[in-house]
């Protein structure tokens, strides 16, 4: 059973010179254990696709199914619950909360989906990602690699089935980038589905499948 199915997704944004098509009939299927990389030049619609697949951005047309459920047929609250439970996000800019420690940042998804083992799970991930000594530190005290690993741990806290990563290695050095990509691969190997948006050839090399995107379409 596919974890995610997108069919003929269309999305148009208004621009200063008329409408700009960001998605122009994108179809995609993600199976369990699949690591998919989406490559393409800036402005080709990669991030728009990622937000749409992540139930954050409603397409103008087309269908999306996540774990056999249609997020855009749901209410906003139901969609948020689906995101909390099934989808993890990693961004190039990390988007860590500046006043929370590493442990608290990693535990933030538990605010949306409370669980009794949230703290032990967070500590486990922190340990796994090599942040044990940084658990009490706030983001400003971390290196960029540590920040991205914190963001990755946060994305994994609620044991999602799908992980959506938008240029996660864009701000990292080679070693830290490789480390993050290894963890994404591990996630896929454990049965999750990963969508990695990148324009780096080395990053894409970790994926089982590489899709090229241009002008809102998958080539």
């Amino acid at each position: 059973m596919a974890l995610l199915q997108a069919r003929d997704l269309h999305k148009v944004f208004p621009g200063p010179h008329g409408k700009v098509p960001a998605l122009a009939g994108v179809s995609l299927t993600l199976d369990p254990g699949e690591f998919t990389a989406i490559k393409g030049p800036s402005g080709c619609g990669k991030s728009t696709l990622l937000f749409t697949l992540g139930a954050l951005l409603r397409p103008d047309s087309g269908n999306l199914s996540v774990l056999d459920r249609e997020p855009y047929a749901m209410t906003g609250e139901e969609r948020a619950a689906l995101r909390a439970k099934s989808i993890g996000f990693v961004f190039q800019q990390f988007h860590l909360t500046p006043y929370l420690s590493v442990l608290e940042n990693v535990m933030a998804p538990a605010l949306a989906l409370p669980s009794t083992d949230a703290q032990s799970r967070a500590l486990e991930l922190i340990d796994l990602l090599g942040l044990k000594d940084r658990a009490d530190h706030v983001p400003s005290m971390l290196s960029t690699g540590e920040r991205q690993r914190t963001a990755l741990a946060r994305a994994l806290l609620n044991r999602p089935k799908i992980l959506l990563a938008d240029e996660p290695t864009g701000n990292l050095d080679e070693d830290n980038g490789a480390l993050v990509l290894e963890h994404l691969s591990d996630f896929a190997k454990q049965g999750g589905a990963v969508v990695l948006v990148t324009h780096e050839r080395e990053a894409a090399a970790h994926a089982q499948r590489v899709l090229q995107m241009r002008d809102g379409r998958i080539a």
């Binding site: 991030s47 937000f51 992540g54 954050l56 951005l57 906003g76 609250e77 948020a80 619950a81 689906l82 995101r83 909390a84 439970k85 996000f89 961004f91 800019q93 988007h95 909360t97 500046p98 006043y99 929370l100 608290e104 535990m107 933030a108 998804p109 538990a110 605010l111 949306a112 989906l113 946060r154 609620n158």
Partner: protein, 429 residues
């Protein structure tokens, strides 16, 4: 981690922003509490003054009543019951009555349910001379104790009677007879001891000789007879001369009643007027304080809304700036699955904490200001001290009002945060 913890951590992280917002709430609450405390102080002061003035007036009234009694005493009894046959022209000319009535009349009056006259005192008067001293003439006045009225509360006697065998000698007469207290003088062949020589009064009292009624009846050879009953009319609405005459004539048809003490009445009226004037003074003072309080209430009526409006606008603006600064934060929360209600909770809890903090600090500041101000205005707080100005309702009101104001001011920014498009926020940052 809980949403509460997240709110507290955010406040600690942006503490300057929080303090700046709380300062506005604090200031508004402080103005509110200070004004209300001042009003309360003035109200207490006006109340104290009114109470003090009322006490003073009551004391004055008691003094006036006492004065009235004393003045009445000095002026003599103001009602005189005489024989119906008494020629009043002769009475006024010689200063005493020459016709007689039975002494038992006074007992009839005393035992009757009459209330318009009090302090009944029978008297027997006549003129006497001394053999060998043609230049010395005296009015002999026989008096006895006031006859108690059985149906009335006992009153202190207005004058003390002369004891048997004793004589009170008027000032001029004593000088003529060269009599002093303790001396023995002869009155129509009977010896009497001088018990008192009163000070000079400037009237017929100065040539009067007071004896016990029975002694006077013996000296004048009028046993069982008197020629006047002196009485004091009560200071009440029923005690008109006509009323008194009507009542006494029913009891004692062979008598007539005259009123002597018009001067006493004038003085009583003067005292009544003084008391009324005192009341008017108190009323004027109370009116002044009421006017002052109304002016302060009018000031509070526009000052307080302005203060709260400014504080609300400031808090609202700060909340808007806060929401804008946290766009990325809100965006990632939404991406992680937090609902709108979580976002609303985060911002409104912060607003409530802001209000509670501002209220507590503002109350302390406002109360201290109000206390100091009222102290400078000379308001004393009596035995209770500053506690007299503490108002639990005001404290509770501030504690509820400030968070309410803060939530109200933060409402629109909170709604903006809750409806923020996470994609837009994540893309911008």
């Amino acid at each position: 981690m809980s949403l509460w913890r997240l709110v507290v951590r955010e406040i600690a992280y942006r503490k300057v922003d929080f303090v700046v917002s709380a300062a506005a709430i604090t200031l508004a609450v402080a103005v509110f509490v200070a004004v209300m405390t001042l009003l309360r102080a003035h109200e207490a002061r006006a109340s104290d003054l009114a109470s003090l003035r009322k006490d003073e007036t009551m004391a004055l009234m008691r003094t006036v009543q006492d004065d009235y009694r004393k003045i009445t005493l000095k002026s003599g009894y103001n009602v005189l019951v005489l024989s119906k046959d008494q020629d009043l022209a002769q009475f006024y000319a010689q200063g005493y009555a020459s016709e007689f009535i039975p002494e038992s009349h006074v007992n009839k009056l005393a035992e009757s349910p009459l209330i318009t006259v009090r302090h009944l005192m029978p008297t027997l008067s006549g003129t006497i001379g001394w053999s060998g001293r043609p230049d010395v003439h005296a009015i002999l006045m026989g008096v006895r104790s006031e006859v108690p009225q059985s149906h009335l509360d006992p009153k202190a006697p207005l004058s003390q009677p002369v004891e048997h065998g004793q004589v009170r000698v008027g000032f001029v007469l004593a000088r003529q007879l060269e009599a002093r207290e303790g001396d023995s003088i002869d009155v129509l062949g009977r010896p009497f001891t001088v018990s008192e020589v009163p000070p000079e009064r400037g009237n017929a009292d100065d040539i009067t000789l007071w004896l016990h009624l029975e002694d006077a009846q013996a000296v004048l050879n009028r046993p069982g007879q008197i020629n006047a009953i002196m009485a004091l009319s009560c200071h009440c609405a029923e005690a008109t001369l006509e009323g008194i005459r009507g009542e006494i004539s029913k009891l004692l048809p062979d008598t007539q009643v005259i009123q002597l003490a018009a001067q006493t009445t004038v003085r009583a009226l003067a005292r009544d007027r003084a008391a009324a004037l005192s009341d008017e003074t108190v009323a004027a003072e109370e009116d002044y304080h009421r006017t002052q309080q109304r002016q302060q209430e009018a000031l509070a009526a526009w000052l307080l809304p302005v203060a709260f409006l400014c504080a609300g606008a400031w808090v609202g603006l700060q909340a808007l700036v806060n929401v804008r600064a946290r766009r990325s934060e809100i965006g990632i929360w939404r991406a992680l699955g937090l609902r709108s209600r979580h976002v609303i909770f985060i911002f409104l809890v912060k607003a409530v904490l802001l209000g509670v903090g501002g209220a507590l600090l503002g109350y302390v500041l406002g109360f201290a200001t109000g206390l100091t101000w009222s102290h400078l205005e000379g308001v004393s707080f009596g035995d209770y001290g500053a506690r007299a100005l503490f108002d639990a309702r005001l404290a509770l009101g501030a504690l509820f009002l400030a968070p309410f104001l803060s939530v109200l001011a933060s409402w629109i920014p909170t709604q903006i945060a809750a409806r923020q498009d996470p994609v837009l926020a994540l893309r911008i940052d």
